[in-house]
């Protein structure tokens, strides 16, 4: 791994909040490692998978929150569908509408870079 370069630029250091201080404590075995410590991570018991487990309060809350978000989303979609498109006269108005509809139909599209 390459050694870090010492850069001349520095990150600004505002003073609003207190900053943690490094407080290294000697290890029980403080000698430096001679090679990377490689830990084998045990596999999870194959029997752990249980999609029939009763859902807890957290998942039930998540479900309710998503439903609420969906209702809000539907309200937005309904409003878009109800728009009288004959009232859109300029390219700016049309592009704004297209943008909002496309955001619904293809939400991962994202904005274009400015040229």
């Amino acid at each position: 791994m390459p050694k870090p370069k010492q850069k001349s630029k520095t990150k600004p250091q505002p003073k609003a909040a207190p900053e943690a201080k490094a407080a290294p404590v000697p290890s029980a075995s403080p000698e430096p490692a001679t090679g990377p410590l490689v830990i084998d991570v045990p596999r999870t018991d194959p029997g752990a998978f249980n999609p029939d487990r009763p859902a807890g309060k957290l998942l039930q809350s998540q479900c309710a929150h998503l439903r609420e978000a969906l209702i809000r989303h539907l309200h937005q979609v309904t409003a878009l569908a109800a728009t009288d498109i004959r009232s859109l006269k300029t390219e700016g108005q049309i592009s704004d509408y297209i943008h909002r509809v496309t955001s619904v139909l293809h939400p991962r599209g994202g904005p274009a870079e400015k040229r």
Partner: protein
């Protein structure tokens, strides 16, 4: 001039797991590492028969904490105060965990399981990261309550007066850390595991699709492709479900009764994704933290804190008195990973009053804001006064062969 580790820093990644206390996951480290504020083995709670239930190194990966231990506001109040009725003179004693778990199990023997903890050998990933990098002895959940309000502190630096799981809508002029970053021309993302698991940060942030959200596969790809945002928040998988092509996707959040070992593998996978790309590894700080204790025993009394300017009504707290957000929730595991952190860094907590550094989830937006944005006026006093954690990065980068690797 800042330390080289801070000068080189480009990315902050936060992985927030679910519902495990510090002592339950890492308390067993104290036997080998005395500076860890963990368990002596003599800590105890009375059970409902008046017998003493000591902490036991018998935590299991799954099936032991079923039903899910209570971690809602009244239950946590019982855990902290041991059943003393609300009033100005009561003193927190951390003596009500077994009594509270009995209310769910209705079984005295099973109620003792709330005192269980893992020995370090059972959690090779979290225990190793805690001793190879920096461990916080004093990182607390923000509220003595459940998931949603605690996670809100990580996103907004406040829960807007909420102490429960209800949906809340942001009417206050406090933007999320993601909004702050994007508005200032920076990059930030919430990576949820997949569409079947989705996110816990739903209503208030959904409007920002697709800028803010991506899935975990994208996180791994962003690490490999040098396209990691400046700030990333990772959510584990919250439920067991079928994967693409019929495979099995296990919950990796470690929320009881999900398998703790699967969470270990998720933490290791996240670490590996960062670790495998030297450009990302050398420029990233990874915080692994738990949202709240999940009702599981911890011996450290949560300290008082700066209020965030809100108050929860007595009807919402469920204990007959309002809560002014002037005390933190129960302590949770928190580990900061970077090659710029010396091995075995332990950040003192309340066990060392002269040097203590107390952290909570408002420390997350506080740190991100301080580093990338310098300041943002639209924050709670609580967040502005929260400790930030990047001061743990030093001038010296540990060589590659001195940093642990995980074989999955």
């Amino acid at each position: 001039m800042p330390p080289a580790g801070l000068d080189n820093l480009k990315h902050i990644v936060v992985l927030m797991m679910e519902n495990r206390s510090f002592d339950h996951m890492l308390g067993g480290l104290m036997k080998k590492y005395p500076k860890v504020n963990g368990l002596t083995g003599n800590e105890s709670n009375p059970d409902t028969k008046g017998a003493i239930a000591k902490v036991q190194p018998n935590a299991e990966f799954q099936s032991q904490l079923d039903p899910d231990p209570d971690h809602h506001f009244p239950g946590v109040d019982l855990q902290i105060y041991g059943g003393q009725p609300p009033g100005p003179d009561r003193v927190p004693n951390m003596q009500g965990f077994v009594k509270d778990y009995f209310t769910q199990t209705n079984d005295v023997k099973r109620s003792h399981f709330i005192m269980s903890y893992f020995t370090p050998d059972k959690l090779p990933v979290l225990s190793t990261l805690a001793t190879e990098y920096a461990l916080f002895n004093g990182w607390f959940s923000s509220i003595p309550g459940p998931t949603i309000c605690n996670r809100a502190f990580a996103h907004y630096g406040t829960s807007f007066g909420q102490v429960g799981m209800d949906i809340f809508y942001i009417l206050d002029p406090i933007p999320s850390i993601y909004d702050r970053m994007i508005k200032a021309g920076h990059t930030a993302k919430i990576y949820y595991y997949d569409q079947q698991s989705s996110t816990m940060e739903i209503v208030n942030l959904l409007k920002n699709q697709p800028q803010i959200f991506a899935n975990y596969d994208q996180f791994v790809a962003d690490c490999a492709g040098d396209t990691l945002p400046e700030y990333s928040f990772i959510e584990p998988c919250y439920n067991d479900h079928a994967g693409a092509g019929g495979g099995q996707i296990l919950a990796s959040d470690q929320h009881p009764d999900h398998n703790v070992r699967e969470g270990e593998r998720f933490i290791a996978n996240t670490y590996n994704a960062i670790r495998k790309n030297p450009k990302i590894w050398e420029t990233t700080a990874l915080l692994i933290v738990y949202d709240e204790h999940g009702g599981i025993y911890d011996h450290v009394v949560p300290p008082a804190c700066t209020p965030d300017g809100y108050s929860a009504k007595a009807a919402d707290t469920g204990i007959g008195i309002p809560f002014n957000f002037d005390r933190l929730g129960i302590r949770v595991p928190a580990v900061l990973v970077s090659p710029w952190i010396p091995r075995n860094t332990i950040v003192p907590g309340t066990e060392d009053p002269a040097n203590q550094q107390i952290f909570e989830h408002a420390s997350i937006p506080a740190t991100v804001t301080k580093f990338f944005l310098q300041d943002d006026a639209k924050r709670t006093v609580r967040e502005k006064q929260a400790n930030t954690f990047l001061g743990l990065l030093t001038n010296t980068m540990r060589p590659d062969n001195d940093c642990v690797a995980f074989n999955l």
